[in-house]
């Protein structure tokens, strides 16, 4: 029997109940949310459960929502069941003041570098990560460039005259 979204959802509801919220199916892809402290339990269950078997992490990234107070940063996990060819999306939200999230790198080796990238660009602090340092940007960088806190251009440059570029 094919693994449908209904089966995945009921299986998760059986285990976690009302702790999982925000159920959506944009373009047929099951998406849900939970408290950020629950992330490893949910991922472990999705991995271990014989019926679900989401054993491949396709992507891990973050999104910055500057207007959502208390949950500015979303960490998004994309999981893939290779046998059934089913994909799901799992999101957790964290405040930007203390963006601590448990690392999934022990469960998925693929998460190691992707968490480093997410840290590099959004500053999500993955607690327990074996080597949490910048991966793509220069190591001296003092900020997290993909947070929506900065104007688009480099603010430190002196050689571009604003008038010439139509800015004030």
């Amino acid at each position: 029997m094919a693994l449908t979204n209904e089966i995945i959802r009921s299986r998760l509801m059986e285990k976690f109940g009302e702790q999982l919220t925000g159920w959506e199916e944009p373009y047929g892809m099951l998406t849900f949310t939970s408290d950020k402290d629950l992330n490893l339990k949910v991922l472990q269950f999705l991995y271990d459960d014989v019926e679900l078997g989401f054993r491949f992490m396709t992507d891990l990234c973050a999104v910055h929502y500057p207007n959502e107070e208390g949950k500015e940063l979303a960490v998004v996990y994309h999981l893939h069941n290779m046998r059934e060819n089913v994909r799901i999306r799992y999101k957790i939200f964290t405040g930007i003041e203390k963006p601590d999230v448990y690392t999934a790198s022990a469960l998925f080796s693929a998460a190691n570098w992707m968490e480093r990238e997410t840290y590099d660009f959004f500053g999500v602090n993955f607690v327990g990560h074996p080597n949490l340092k910048r991966i793509l940007n220069v190591e001296e960088m003092e900020y997290f460039p993909l947070r929506k806190e900065y104007p688009l251009e480099d603010q430190k440059r002196t050689d571009k005259d604003d008038e010439m570029f139509g800015r004030d």
Binding site: L136, N137, V138, M141, P145, Y150, L152, E153, D154, R157, D159, K160
Partner: protein
Amino acid sequence: MARPVQYNITDKPLEKPYSIVQGPEGYMGEGFFASKLSDVVGLARKNSIWPLPFATSCCGIEFMALMASHYDLARFGSERVSFTPRQCDLLMVIGTIAKKMAPVVKQVYLQMAEPRWVLAMGACASSGGIFDTYSVLQGIDQIIPVDVYVPGCPPRPEAVIDGFLRVQELVGSENLRRRNSPKYKELMETYGIQ
């Protein structure tokens, strides 16, 4: 049937049977020629510049056209493109230099022996170009001194040839003591190079 070719169908006679560089000014008499050593050295240097192409992106494609038969930089004595900095005279930085690439460019520059020249080809190498962003170096002159900038996105091969001729001008007319002068040392110090 032969194709109706319209262009370049008549042979053009060469202006001269050979092409040779004009010698420096000097005194000539029977069996001797006297000139300044710096002129002779400059002449030799400027007509055998070995370029090191540091090509990172789209300008590199234009550089390939420059080296190929149509534009043919070899006409100016630079057919010997080298990929080892220790043998090269001219560092051609061709394309976007990300901040993470900056130490590599500097390392390559440091490995070149004096006298060395630098040509920045394209808007990105000259000023960061369209990449006004956190990850891109805003012009390679932030890390190494540049002699000639060739603007354009990308510049046409003709523009690069023009830039190259300007490098030749600099090379040919450079004072032999310039690289030992305090002014030059001062310039190098601003880049943190000993």
